[in-house]
């Protein structure tokens, strides 16, 4: 997301560090700033906010808050966004939310007598700074406040509604909506819409509709500041193929409280806009807001063992640093003991309604009812400890305690034969067996008392364990936490939805403290004896054999135009299938390299590839070998090379290779190596064997081939030929290959040796002309002929 430096500065009285310094610091401690660009009298920071911080930092306010933590500067609300007391009139607007899971909060407010006009300069500048268009004052206000607070907002033209009631409901089959940009989008029963009595007005959280669009004649509006379920928005946005700044925020989960901030801010901004417009027009009338918010947010608490912070980070974090960092983060905390904390809370929950159900996991809203294990989970969560949801998993999570040693705070498990009985752990360390079975759990309070949910009384009760029917068949007692150890119970502020576990707090401490302060430490010695990977050994052994014989290794593409398995979403038609064999690519590679053979100075191309192939959808590792004699006349040369390969394999593995047909052969290596003896070392197969240290880019222009043969008299240094060629050819000379030598005694008795070379010329930046190559060759010929003892044939 783009952030305006000036806009961020408005959150502080103190001056911020300069933009680049700020960017570097954020990158080192929070998230990556990808670029800093100067724009007019501002700087734009492009910050890569990843999903973990998308619920609090896709907004200027959020990033300002982050800056305040890092630089220990106090934040303030920028003047334009300050919330004002608004005098509001009674409202006739009605809102109905069909499913509060899909829409956990909906705040609506009617505002009458507004004037749609051009936006004020400050608003236009803010939007422009982060690359957004200005539309009109109403739409801009909702947008600018989203970039400020992270809360997506929407304004409907109230006069275009059928009726005075807003419905938040699932779309009906066959319903359609025309979006603001004029696209007709078919809706289905999983799509949440905002509707009036007749039609959908918006795809909830994704895109507004045409019907109630705010236009230049709009006089009365309904403002929406709502919260929608992340998964539903994500699925809808994918299905209708519309991604907006709004849907992006909702699918990353927006904190519930921000809806209120959004509504208050947009109301205040609209009020001020009209007050400042200076005209003698009547001021807008704000009606009371309607806030549908049935399930209140539950604050997350995390208990942290301070010594674990240092253990995980690998650097000593003193309790002072820990305290200071929590202060900077504004995370309230208390030093307490999990068990004691929980026992203090427990009695309050006696009397809470009982309901059996899997959807009662302790989460981010206050529970209204419990079953036996969700009550346990909730109580521990309130004391900062994450225990599993199911009784059977809790059983395996806790430490075993003998019945006689039971202490207050221990959890008693039983088979009450009332609910689904589990005999195996499901989520926590799955698959552990408990033959007695468990379906019930209670919290031991001491003196024979237990807190648990009574099915009979349909509520949580405290009673004598001995008298409870549900604890007739106790299967075990478990201790979830050390009753004597002090921990730090951290309360996570609502805007940090990403923090759930102690490790999350460790990360907060570590990144603010600075990972750069961690010094490297060698691995502790562990009792682990690594095995040799049979296939990895074998493929590298094979590479060595072929390397020694002069082969070149290629890697090619797995995705091809033919095969047995088609990917569901191919990038291109010729890359739609998984290869079933390496041979097609091997042929292509031989063809390609034959054209360039003079560049390598080899008449016989010898290639191999080792890779995974997918015949009939099953995968195995294959080896392909390709040998091509580009001269074709001497077929036995290829034959000889293959024989050497066979000998190499025979020697290394004591096994024969399958017969080669034509130029290529493919071997299923999984099968080939299945019976080779186990290895106890990697021997020489991890040797690097690299010739080059630096890569030179490949010219995309054609090369030219020339030959030269020179007689050199006895006693002269034949290297002179290469030296001259190199001097004349300069950068254009790519390769020289000696292809023929013979001696001849001339009639005059002089002994001369003939040297014949292939010479390859190529330019990196252009197509080399024949004339250019000829000129070089003429020059070489001329200079050689001038030398005593040399004559070009």
């Amino acid at each position: 997301m783009l952030f305006s430096y000036r806009w961020l500065q408005e959150h502080f009285d103190d001056p911020l560090p300069n933009p680049q310094e700020l960017a570097d610091y954020l990158t080192l401690h929070s998230f990556e700033v990808e670029s800093v660009a100067e724009e007019k009298d501002d700087f734009v920071l492009d910050i890569d906010i990843l999903p973990n911080r998308s619920s609090d930092c896709l907004s200027h306010e959020g990033v300002a808050k982050e800056i305040s933590v890092l630089f220990e500067k106090k934040t303030k609300t920028p003047e334009h966004f300050q919330i004002q007391e608004i005098e509001s009139k009674p409202t006739k607007l009605q809102i109905s939310v069909e499913d509060s899971k899909l829409c956990p909060r909906y705040i609506g407010r009617k505002v009458s007598r507004i004037t749609v006009a051009e936006s004020p300069l400050w608003m236009k500048e803010k939007l422009q700074a982060i690359g957004q268009k200005s539309i009109n004052n109403i739409v801009d206000a909702t947008n600018v406040i989203m970039y400020e607070t992270g809360q997506p907002l929407h304004a409907f033209d109230a006069d275009k509604l059928d009726g005075e009631k807003i419905f938040v409901r699932l779309a009906r089959s066959g319903e359609k909506i025309t979006t603001l940009d004029g696209k007709e989008v078919p809706l289905d029963e999983n799509t949440l819409v905002i509707a009036d009595a007749k039609d959908p007005l918006a795809i909830a959280g994704v895109k507004g509709g045409k019907k109630a669009e705010v236009d230049k004649n709009t006089k009365n509006i309904v403002l929406e500041s709502a919260n929608f379920h992340p998964t539903n928005i994500r699925k809808t946005s994918a299905r209708v193929n519309i991604r907006t700044d709004s849907s992006k925020r909702f699918e990353n989960e927006v904190p519930l409280k921000v809806a209120e901030e959004g509504m208050e801010t947009v109301s205040s901004v609209l009020l001020k806009l009209h007050q400042n417009s200076g005209s003698d027009k009547e001021q807008p009338i704000f009606e009371e807001k309607i806030d549908i918010y049935p399930e209140k947010y539950r604050q997350i608490k995390i208990s942290v063992n301070p010594s674990r912070v240092s253990d995980i980070l690998g650097v000593e974090i003193s309790e002072d640093v820990l305290e200071e960092t929590l202060h900077r983060l504004e995370f309230p905390y208390e030093k307490t003991n999990v068990i004691q904390k929980m026992l203090d809370l427990a009695p309050k929950y006696a009397g809470t309604k009982y309901a059996y159900g899997a959807d009662q996991s302790t989460g981010k809203t206050e529970p209204k009812s419990f079953d036996s294990s969700s009550l346990i989970q909730f109580l521990f969560a309130e004391a900062g400890m994450l225990v599993p949801r199911l009784a059977v998993d809790q059983y395996f999570f806790g430490e075993e305690v003998a019945f006689a040693d039971m202490l207050p705070g221990d959890v008693v498990f039983s088979n009450a034969a009332e609910e689904q009985i589990y005999f195996k752990s499901v989520h926590f360390l799955p698959g552990k067996e408990l033959p007695e079975g468990v379906d019930h759990a209670g919290l031991y309070l001491g003196e024979g008392n237990i807190l648990h949910t009574s099915r009979e009384q349909q509520k949580a009760v405290i009673e004598k364990m001995k008298e409870s029917k549900q604890f007739k068949k106790v299967v075990g007692v478990r201790r979830m936490a050390d009753p004597h150890k002090e921990r730090w119970l951290v309360s996570v502020p609502e805007h940090r939805l990403d923090l759930e576990r102690p490790e999350d707090i460790v990360e907060e401490i570590g990144r603010i403290y600075g990972y750069e302060k961690i010094s490297a430490k060698p691995l502790p010695t562990e009792t682990f004896s690594p095995k040799i990977h049979r296939l990895f050994f074998a493929v590298n052994k094979i590479r060595n054999i072929l390397f020694t014989l002069g082969f070149s290794e290629i890697y090619t593409h797995t995705l091809q135009r033919k095969g047995d398995v088609r990917v569901a979403n191919p990038m291109a038609q010729d890359k739609a299938f998984l290869r079933t064999s390496l041979l097609e690519n091997m042929q292509k590679s031989l063809d390609l390299n034959e054209k360039n053979a003079p560049l390598f100075g080899e008449e016989v191309l010898t290639l191999f590839e080792i890779g995974i192939v997918f015949p009939e959808g099953k995968e195995h590792t294959a080896l392909a070998i390709g040998i091509r004699d580009t001269k074709r006349k001497k077929q036995q040369r290829a034959e000889e090379i293959f024989q050497k390969v066979e000998e190499g394999f025979q020697e290394a593995f004591g096994k024969k290779l399958p017969h080669r047909e034509g130029e290529t052969v493919e071997i299923n290596l999984d099968e080939f190596i299945a019976d080779i003896p186990e290895k106890f070392s990697y021997e020489d197969v991890l040797e690097k064997k690299a010739a080059g240290e630096k890569y030179e880019s490949i010219s995309s222009y054609p090369f030219l081939l020339r030959d030269i043969a020179v007689f050199v008299s006895e006693g002269e240094d034949a290297f002179e030929i290469l030296r001259l060629i190199s001097e004349e050819g300069k950068d254009l000379l790519v390769r020289t290959t000696l292809f023929d030598i013979f001696e001849k005694t001339f009639e005059d008795g002089l002994k001369k040796t003939s040297y014949a070379y292939h010479i390859v010329f190529q330019a990196k930046d252009r197509t080399l002309s024949d004339e250019e190559a000829n000129r070089i060759m003429d020059q070489v010929t001329k200079r050689l002929n001038e030398k005593p003892g040399f004559s070009v044939r």
């Binding site: 999903p51 995980i312 799955p430 690594p530 990977h533 290629i554 090619t556 560049l599 880019s697």
Partner: protein, 260 residues
């Protein structure tokens, strides 16, 4: 001008994988591997990347036809993985899960392998590339150990004088998560074209194994701790040798291979 060659040429991907594997086997790591056709469970769910979570967008996926689409799972069937959709693995991390499911800690493994991403190709992006994954699970591991191992890796490839720095990163399967930057080995931090004038090159990702990942594979995170890291092989080669275009690695072109 080049001299005549007698020996052959290993592909640079092989060369770098060997160099790194040699280092890690010296440090007592075991080589592990896993399938390229992977189940959604191993590639995502078990790694704490739930369905319909925005974190899935960080790795665009090639999906494969499911062999059992009609089978409808319910919550308690989570471990019955035969209903899972199949895909081309987007990272080598599923091998972590497969290894941890079948081995008792402590262990330390290194996983070289090919991975696939559904994304448009250009000079620095290919739909297939190689990764090397490392995983260590033991008793008293920390970010300081991770730093040690990665420093050793980068020194081996780019020279002893290289510096690295850790900064916050986000990968759902680690917590804390870090990105590792290496001081540019060309300009030694002064800023050049290789490092986009920043003096630093983003090169690796890693962190402490997320406790949820350990729980999923049956390892008690209160008793064991781990760290993991991953690195793109082609990127290492491009930086080390100056290869400009990642697509060159898969053309079967000896004009590239025979330079190594």
């Amino acid at each position: 001008m080049r001299e005549e060659e007698k020996l052959g040429h290993l592909h640079p991907i092989t060369i770098i994988i060997r160099e790194i594997t040699a280092l890690f086997t010296e440090l007592g790591f075991e080589v592990a591997s896993g399938p390229e056709i992977e189940e959604e469970y191993y590639n995502f769910d078990a790694l704490n990347v739930p369905k319909d979570h925005p974190a899935r967008d960080m790795q665009d996926t090639f999906w494969l036809p499911s062999s059992a689409d009609s089978f409808r799972p319910d919550e308690t069937d989570l471990k019955q993985k035969n209903y899972q959709k199949r895909l081309l693995r987007t990272h080598t991390s599923p091998v972590q899960v497969r290894y941890m499911e079948t081995h008792e800690p402590p262990f330390q493994i290194i996983v070289p392998g090919k991975v696939y991403r559904y994304e448009a190709t250009d000079a620095t992006h290919e739909t297939q590339f190689h990764q090397i994954e490392g995983l260590v699970v033991g008793k008293n591991l920390s970010l300081a150990n991770l730093k040690y191992v990665l420093q050793a890796l980068l020194k081996k490839l780019y020279g002893e004088e290289i510096n690295i720095k850790l900064r916050p990163g986000y990968f759902p399967f680690v917590e804390p998560g870090v990105e590792i930057d290496m001081q540019c080995f060309r300009c030694k931090g002064a800023g050049c074209t290789s490092c986009k004038e920043s003096g630093w090159i983003e090169i690796l990702g890693g962190g402490m194994v997320h406790p949820a990942v350990l729980e999923n594979v049956g390892i008690d995170p209160r008793k064991w701790r781990g760290f993991a890291f991953g690195v793109g092989v082609e990127r290492l080669i491009m930086l080390k040798y100056g290869v400009e275009d990642i697509r060159m690695f898969y053309t079967g072109d000896l004009r590239l291979v025979n330079q190594f």
